[in-house]
């Protein structure tokens, strides 16, 4: 049960794909900062895993990304939700 945070755009960096190589079932992936571009419907992360996907709402807003343009199955969380996620998962692993 690891929460992985990713802060690089999937369009310029391999960071998200490297993260996805290491995730296990029941892990979570939270997209933050430029990582939120990976939530777009047009972004196709390497492989779909049985993980929970989250994206930070404030970082979407800051970049003018409408939630409707995000893939289905991604949960929007705000900063408070971010904190709650860090409580839910056993540890946090940050990919940058």
């Amino acid at each position: 049960m690891i929460l992985h945070t990713v802060n690089k755009s999937v369009f310029t960096s391999n960071t998200l794909n490297e993260c996805l190589l290491t995730v296990a079932r029941n892990d979570g992936v939270l997209l933050i900062e430029d990582g939120v571009y990976g939530a777009l419907k047009t972004a196709h992360p390497a492989e779909q895993h049985e993980v929970s996907w989250y994206v930070l709402k404030e970082d979407l807003q800051a970049r003018g990304i409408a939630p409707e343009t995000c893939r289905e199955g991604i949960t929007l969380v705000d900063y408070t939700g971010f904190v709650e996620l860090t409580e839910q998962y056993a540890s946090v692993c940050s990919w940058f």
Binding site: E18, L21, V23, D27, S91, C93
Partner: protein, 134 residues
């Protein structure tokens, strides 16, 4: 290689967890990520933590032989890596696909590493209490 993978998989959940996994993902020259990560490994080991290392992505370039960082007035991590056995850091893994993509050979690295394929990676992370990414 297959022995290594099955060992990692069978360790998951059965053996006691190791304390820390440090992942090296950045190329060696131009930034201090590699040195910072190696500092963390050596210091933590000195304080009795059980440490594993994983090289993946551009981090596998840190394992290349014949690096001469002094050519650009940098120090590199070669000397620190040679000290790993003295700190009882023996769980050193390298992601085979990352080596393949970069045209590198696992028996031409400057320290001994166990090769892991992609499907062994999730199990490796799960068997450590903490994962540090550099």
């Amino acid at each position: 290689m297959s022995n290594t993978q099955s060992q990692v998989e069978s360790d998951t959940g059965t053996e006691t967890m190791s304390d820390m996994l440090i992942i090296f993902r950045k190329a060696p020259v131009g930034t201090s990520w590699a040195r910072e990560a190696m500092d963390l490994a050596l210091v933590s080991a000195a304080f009795g933590q059980k440490i594993s290392l994983l090289f993946m992505g551009d981090g596998v370039f840190q394992l290349a032989q014949n690096q001469q960082p002094s050519a650009v007035e940098q120090k590199g991590t070669q000397a620190m890596m040679q000290a790993l056995p003295m700190y009882d850091i023996e769980q050193i893994y390298v992601h085979q696909d990352s080596l393949d993509q970069r045209g590198m050979d696992s028996d031409q690295l400057h320290i001994d590493c166990q090769s892991l394929d992609s499907k062994a990676l999730p199990g490796l992370l799960q068997q450590h209490k903490q994962v540090f990414n550099f």
